[in-house]
C-alpha cells in the first residue's frame, strides 16, 4: 500500500466512522435497522467518497451522473448519512429522519434533489429499476453507470432473478450489483433460514461477471469495483462479505438487533466502540 493510498484510506475510514455514528444516533432516536446499515457502511463510503460514483452533489439531477440504487431500502439511514457527508444536503438535516416535514422517509422515496434515486422498502425491486436505468442510459447514449446495492436476504425474492436473467440477456455492461452479504436475514442466519449458496455460482449461471470482496475493506472493494467497471458485454456483481452490525461488538453477534437499537449503557458503549475503532 502506498503512503498516498494509506492517507486516502484513513480519510475514508473517518467518513465511515461518521456515517456509523450518524446511523446509530438516527436509529436510536427514531427506530430503523441499524445492523443492516452498519454492514453496508464501507460499501456506501467507497462508492460516494472513494471515487467510484461520478455524481455532482451541487447538481444532483445532472443527466450523466452515475446512479446509485439502494434496493435494501431498510438501510435508508446509512444512505442519508453518506449523502449528507458527500454534500447532497446539510448534515443537520439528518435530525429530521422519519419526521413529518422531512424528505428523509423511514424508507427511501425517490427524490433526486437530495440524491435519492429510487423508492425502496419492499425488497427485491432495485435491480429491475437499475436495469431499466442502465437500458435507458444505453438508449439515450449516456455514459453513466448504474450501481445497485442488494441485501442478501433480499435475494430470496424472485424478482431479483428475473432482473438478473434480463440484464444478462440485454448484455448491459453499465450495471453493477453489489450484494451486502452479511449472512443474516431478519429471523436468523441465511444458511439456516433460506440458503443462498452456492451464491456466486448462481450469478455466474445467470450470465454475470462475479467478483467477491471483503465488504469492510475499502481498498479491496475499490479494486473489485474497478475490475467490474471494465467488464464488457455483461453485467457484474460484487459479492461483498460483510458483518451485520459491523463496528459494535455486541450488535455484530446478535441478529435480534435487526430492527431495534441499543439503549442506555449499551447505546453509550456502541458510541465508544465506533469512536475508537481503527484508532
Amino acid at each position: 500500500m502506498t503512503e498516498a493510498g494509506r492517507t486516502n484510506l484513513a480519510a475514508l475510514q473517518e467518513i465511515a466512522r461518521s456515517i456509523r455514528l450518524d446511523v446509530l444516533e438516527m436509529t436510536a432516536r427514531m427506530g430503523g435497522h441499524p445492523t443492516s446499515c452498519f454492514s453496508a457502511v464501507e460499501i456506501l463510503t467507497v462508492l460516494y467518497s472513494g471515487g467510484i460514483l461520478k455524481v455532482r452533489p451541487a447538481e444532483p439531477a445532472w443527466p450523466d451522473r452515475d446512479r446509485f440504487i439502494l434496493s435494501k431500502g431498510h438501510a435508508a439511514p446509512a444512505l442519508y448519512a453518506v449523502l449528507a457527508r458527500a454534500g447532497f444536503f446539510d448534515v443537520s438535516e439528518l435530525s429530521g429522519f422519519r419526521t413529518m416535514e422531512s424528505p428523509l422517509h423511514g424508507h427511501p422515496k425517490q427524490n433526486v434533489a437530495i440524491g435519492v434515486e429510487v423508492t425502496s422498502g419492499s425488497l427485491g425491486q432495485g435491480l429491475s429499476f437499475g436495469l431499466g436505468t442502465a437500458l435507458a442510459g444505453r438508449l439515450g447514449r449516456h455514459a453513466f453507470r448504474v450501481y445497485v446495492l442488494l441485501g442478501d436476504g433480499e435475494c430470496d425474492e424472485g424478482q431479483v432473478w428475473e432482473a438478473a436473467m434480463a440484464a444478462a440477456h440485454f448484455r448491459v455492461e453499465n450495471l453493477t450489483a453489489i450484494v451486502d452479504y452479511n449472512k443474516y436475514q431478519q429471523t436468523g442466519p441465511i444458511a439456516r433460514e433460506m440458503a443462498l449458496e452456492p451464491f456466486g455460482e448462481k450469478w455466474k449461471a445467470f450470465g454475470w461477471h462475479v467478483e467477491e470482496a471483503d465488504g469492510h475493506d475499502m481498498e479491496d472493494l475499490r479494486r473489485r469495483l474497478d475490475c467490474a467497471r471494465v467488464v464488457q458485454g455483461r453485467p457484474q456483481v460484487v459479492i461483498a462479505h460483510t458483518k451485520k452490525g459491523k463496528g459494535v461488538s455486541f450488535m455484530e453477534s446478535d441478529y435480534t438487533f435487526h430492527a431495534r437499537s441499543p439503549v442506555g449503557d449499551q447505546l453509550q458503549q456502541a458510541r465508544e466502540e465506533i469512536l475508537h475503532a481503527h484508532r
Binding site: 429510487v118 429491475s128 436495469l131 431499466g132 435507458a136 439515450g140 424472485g158
Partner: protein, 325 residues
C-alpha cells in the same frame, strides 16, 4: 343481436388492440422519448407494430411482470415515456407491489396498457378475465385510468396518456367495439366524461364496451318514452365530478354500467360523488361479487346481468324510484 345494433351504431373497423397499436406508433413517431416494454404478449396487445416500426425502442422483458414494471420505472426516471403492454389479469396482480412502490409512490411517468380486459377473453375462463382492474389501479394514488369506448377513443386516449405527465392505466380489449365516435371526433381529457347521448329522464353512465350496450338500452328506453342521457366515463379515475353532478341534478336518476366488479369499480366512484353532493336513486350494472365461467362474452353478459336488458330494467327501476319521469 350484436352490441350497438339496437342503437344503430356502425360496426368497428378494427380491433381495439390494432387501434392501440396504430396510436402508439403515432405518438412514438412524434416523441422519441416514447418506448414500448412488453411482457411477451406483443402479438396479443398490438405492441408488435411498435416492435416492427421502432425496434430499438421496443424491449420484450419476458414473462416477468415484476421485473417489467421495475424496468419501466428505471426508464421513466431517466426521462423516457414507457408504455408497458400486458394483460391486466397478469400484470396487475403480479406486479402490484412494483406498481405501488416504483410507480405510484414515486409518481413516475409510466403508462400501462391492459389489453383483453373485462370478459373479452371469454372462453379462456376466469383466470383470464380482468374484472378487478379498476379496483386495483384505483388503489394506487397518482394513477389515472382511461377506458376507451371505441377505436377513435382509443387513439385519443393513447395520445392523452402520452401527453399527460404521470402514471396512466389504459384499459383495452381484444375485439372490435361498435363506433361511438366519428373518426377523429373523440375528445379525451383526463378527469372528463363525454356526453354521447342527451336525455333528461335518467342517466346511463358507462365505460368501455358498455357504452355501446348503454346506447342500445337508451334506444329501447326511448320506445317506452324515456329519454336517457348516456355518459361515456372515459376517465374512470379521476372521475368527472361535474358530469356526475349535472346528471344527478338534471336527470335525477343514475344507472352505471361497467364490465367490472360493481365493488370498487366506476359505479362506486360515481356513487361517491352523488352521495356527497346530490344523492339520487342509483343502480349498478356490472359483475357481482363472483368469478365467472368460461363462455362467450354474450353468454357471460346475459348470465351475470350486465347486458342491455339489465340496464333497461335498472333504468325503469330508478325512474320509478324518483317518482317517474
Amino acid at each position: 343481436m350484436r352490441i350497438g345494433e339496437e342503437a344503430e351504431l356502425p360496426r368497428g373497423t378494427k380491433q381495439m388492440r390494432d387501434a392501440f397499436a396504430g396510436a402508439l406508433v403515432e405518438v412514438a413517431r412524434a416523441d422519441d422519448r416514447v418506448i414500448a416494454l412488453d411482457g411477451d404478449l406483443s402479438s396479443s396487445t398490438g405492441m408488435g407494430l411498435m416492435r416492427n416500426t421502432f425496434p430499438d425502442r421496443f424491449f420484450n422483458i419476458g414473462i416477468a411482470e415484476a421485473n417489467l414494471v421495475g424496468v419501466s420505472a428505471g426508464f421513466a426516471a431517466c426521462g423516457f415515456i414507457p408504455f408497458v403492454g400486458s394483460l391486466p389479469c397478469f400484470l396487475l396482480p403480479n406486479a402490484y407491489d412494483q406498481l405501488r412502490l416504483q410507480v405510484s409512490i414515486a409518481g413516475l411517468n409510466v403508462k400501462l396498457l391492459g389489453s383483453h380486459a373485462g370478459v373479452s377473453t371469454g372462453r379462456e375462463g376466469p383466470t383470464s378475465h380482468a374484472i378487478e382492474d379498476f379496483a386495483l389501479v384505483g388503489g394506487l394514488p397518482s394513477f389515472s385510468i382511461l377506458v376507451p369506448s371505441d377505436e377513435t377513443a382509443m387513439a385519443a386516449c393513447v395520445k392523452a396518456a402520452a401527453d399527460f405527465v404521470g402514471p396512466v392505466y389504459i384499459r383495452s380489449s381484444r375485439g372490435e367495439f361498435p363506433r361511438i365516435y366519428a373518426e377523429g371526433k373523440c375528445r379525451v381529457r383526463i378527469g372528463k366524461a363525454n356526453v354521447v347521448r342527451n336525455g333528461a329522464d335518467v342517466t346511463l353512465a358507462a365505460c368501455g364496451l358498455m357504452v355501446g350496450v348503454a346506447l342500445d338500452a337508451a334506444a329501447t328506453l326511448q320506445k317506452e318514452g324515456i329519454q336517457a342521457r348516456v355518459l361515456d366515463m372515459l376517465s374512470v379515475k379521476p372521475i368527472d365530478r361535474e358530469a356526475v353532478l349535472a346528471a344527478a341534478r338534471e336527470t335525477g336518476a343514475i344507472v352505471t354500467a361497467e364490465e367490472h366488479l360493481v365493488r370498487g369499480g366506476m359505479g362506486a366512484a360515481v356513487a361517491q360523488v352523488a352521495a356527497e353532493e346530490h344523492p339520487v336513486p342509483m343502480r349498478f350494472i356490472g359483475v357481482q361479487d363472483t368469478h365467472l365461467e368460461s363462455g362467450s362474452v354474450e353468454e357471460l353478459m346475459a348470465r351475470h346481468h350486465f347486458a342491455a336488458p339489465d340496464i333497461v330494467e335498472a333504468a325503469l327501476d330508478v325512474v320509478a324510484a324518483k317518482g317517474g319521469r
